[in-house]
Structure formats: structure tokens, C-alpha cells
């Protein structure tokens, strides 16, 4: 028996199913390992040593089928948009989307003359949290993630959240 086990007797914890589920969900938001443009580099910087995404339970997964959250990090072009949609559809429920950077929020610097840029990823997938910036600092992305956790915390298994 390990040290910690010896400290406690058998215990029962009573909690609401909602709270338990939400707590589990929000502390292990696995992310699709997927980057699009400049913002993806900041996303990588966020998950690397200095900012350490791992401490929020965000682990990049190579496959969308194992993930809970997709961070659209960068410019979505028309050619890519259908693939982004496909990726989103491959993810199992419950799934969340963070749109990172001006480009995926609204087209960013390419909004006017970008003949091949989708002006906002919300034209193809529903977005939960928008993180502004070009590129957003890693701190901003962390803030966005905490906003998402806030949202997950208030969800309910029976009631559909808006």
C-alpha cells in the first residue's frame, strides 16, 4: 500500500452527476493536433515548455476521433474549409471549438481582398470561444481555454445548453 492510500480510509464522495461529469470533462480537454497558419506556431509555443498547456489537461491527439476540442488556429481558406468541417464532424460529442486569431474569427487582415479566404470559421462550424489577436499571445489562448472551461462547468447532462 502506498503512502497516500494509508492516509485515508474508504471514503464516499457525494456529488451531482453534472458536477462530476463536467469536472472530468473540463480538466481533460484533449485537443486535435492540428495547426493552420501563423497562429499555430503560437499554439505550439503554448503547449511547449514556457506556457505548458498540459497543466490544463490539454494534450494534442493526432486523431479527431480521440479529441474533445479543436483549436482553429489560423486562416481557414476555401480549400481547407471543407476539411475543417470534416474534422469537426469526425469528433465525438461533446465537442468544443476555439477559434484562435482574427483570421478564423472574421478573416483578419485578409477580410477585404482575400479571394480564397473564408471570412470566419463560424461559417462552417459552430464556435464556442473566440480568441482575438493576430496572433493571440499564449496568455490569451490560455484565457480562452479557461473561458471554455467555465462554459463546460455550467453544462448539464439532461438540459441542452445553448
Amino acid at each position: 500500500m502506498s503512502y497516500l492510500d494509508a492516509q485515508f480510509d474508504d471514503n464516499i464522495i457525494i456529488a451531482k452527476v453534472d458536477d462530476l461529469f463536467n469536472w472530468a470533462r473540463l480538466s481533460s480537454l484533449w485537443q486535435v493536433g492540428f495547426g493552420l497558419a501563423c497562429c499555430a506556431i503560437e499554439m505550439m509555443a503554448t503547449s511547449a515548455s514556457h506556457y505548458d498547456f498540459d497543466r490544463f489537461g490539454v494534450i494534442p491527439r493526432p486523431s479527431p476521433r480521440q479529441s474533445d476540442i479543436i483549436i482553429i488556429s489560423g486562416t481557414v481558406t476555401l480549400k481547407m474549409a471543407l476539411r475543417v468541417k470534416r474534422l469537426y464532424e469526425q469528433m465525438p460529442d461533446p465537442k468544443y471549438v476555439i477559434s484562435m486569431g482574427s483570421c478564423s474569427n472574421c478573416g483578419g487582415p485578409y477580410w477585404e481582398h482575400g479571394y480564397h479566404v473564408l471570412k470566419g470559421v463560424d461559417r462552417v462550424v459552430p464556435v464556442d470561444v473566440y480568441v482575438p489577436g493576430c496572433p493571440p499571445r499564449p496568455e490569451a489562448l490560455l484565457e480562452g481555454l479557461m473561458k471554455l472551461q467555465e462554459k463546460v462547468r455550467n453544462e448539464s447532462v439532461v438540459k441542452k445548453s445553448a
Binding site: L78, K79, A81, E112, H116, L118, K119, R123, V124
Partner: protein, 174 residues
């Protein structure tokens, strides 16, 4: 190391009428050539002992927009005039550089491909085809490269390009 004039004279000797003129401008002078003979000229430039242009640095298609332009409402159309291709090349041995330019009519833009002379031209030519609609004859694999393969709205870098409203059900303008 040869200057642009010397290279122009060598080319003129070998290809007389297909080399049109040497256009002088403040920075890089260029040589105007025949679009349908450009592959032979390139091969000569690459293989001639005294020239050895073994590195094609850049190949750019340009819409000269020098034709008749008519505007109705928000739509501009250009008729007549030319599209051009610029070739920037250098020799890694002799360290000289030269710029060639070919101009081809906008209605039927055709130039012969240099992709088999310098393999680096392959993607550059595909890009010029994709964005400007210049047809490179005898190119091994002339397809769209940057835009989607099923893009039907024309060639975006032409000055009279109009963006479509929708692509696969997605709204394109802001």
C-alpha cells in the same frame, strides 16, 4: 561574368528574330523574346559554354493590363493587350544574371514551357497558369496548384477578376 548587353548580343546572333529588344530600365534591364521559342532560348542559355545559366531563380506571370478596359457597374473587363512572363536566371559558376520577358496576347495566352529545362520552373509555371491563366505548351503536368482544382471563377491575379458569391455553399465575400 557577362553584362546584359553581351548576353543580348550572343542571343541575337543565335536567334535573330526571336529576340526582340533589350529594354533598359533603372535597375534590372530585360530582354524581350518570342513566347513560343522561349524553351529553345532557355536550353541555349543553360547549355552554352560561356553562359551556363543553371539556376532559374524566379518565373513570374504578370497581367500587363494594357488593353481596352470597360467598366459597367462594379465589373471591369479588359480586352486585348498582353500577359507577360518574366524569367530571372543566374549562373552559379559565372555569377551573371539575366532577365527575359515574353508577352503573349490576352485572348490566347500561350508560351512554351521551360519546365523540362529547369525543373524548378515546373511549379512556377503551374502557379502562373493557376493565377493568370497562361497556358504553357508541353508542360508535363499543367493543373491548378494553389486554388482548388474545381475553381471555376477564373484567374484571380488578372486585373479584371471578379470573385464569386459562393463556393460550395460557403459565402465568399465578407
Amino acid at each position: 561574368m557577362k553584362s546584359a548587353e553581351e548576353i543580348f548580343n550572343i542571343l541575337k546572333e543565335n536567334f535573330n528574330d526571336n529576340i526582340k529588344e533589350l529594354v533598359k530600365q533603372p535597375v534590372d534591364p530585360y530582354i524581350l523574346c518570342d513566347p513560343l521559342k522561349i524553351n529553345e532560348i532557355s536550353l541555349f542559355l543553360l547549355s552554352n559554354e560561356g553562359l551556363l545559366f543553371d539556376n532559374l531563380m524566379n518565373l513570374s506571370g504578370v497581367d500587363d493590363a494594357n488593353g481596352m478596359s470597360t467598366t459597367t457597374g462594379s465589373i471591369t473587363t479588359i480586352e486585348g493587350g498582353t500577359l507577360s512572363v518574366y524569367y530571372h536566371m543566374e549562373s552559379t559558376k559565372f555569377r551573371h544574371k539575366v532577365v527575359l520577358r515574353v508577352s503573349t496576347p490576352r485572348e490566347k495566352p500561350e508560351a512554351s514551357s521551360v519546365a523540362l529545362v529547369w525543373r524548378s520552373a515546373d511549379w512556377h509555371e503551374r502557379e502562373a497558369f493557376d493565377l493568370l491563366g497562361i497556358n504553357f505548351l508541353n508542360h508535363p503536368d499543367l493543373r491548378r496548384i494553389l486554388m482548388p482544382y474545381d475553381w471555376e471563377a477564373g484567374y484571380p491575379l488578372r486585373k479584371d477578376y471578379a470573385n464569386p458569391e459562393f463556393y460550395h455553399g460557403m459565402k465568399v465575400p465578407y
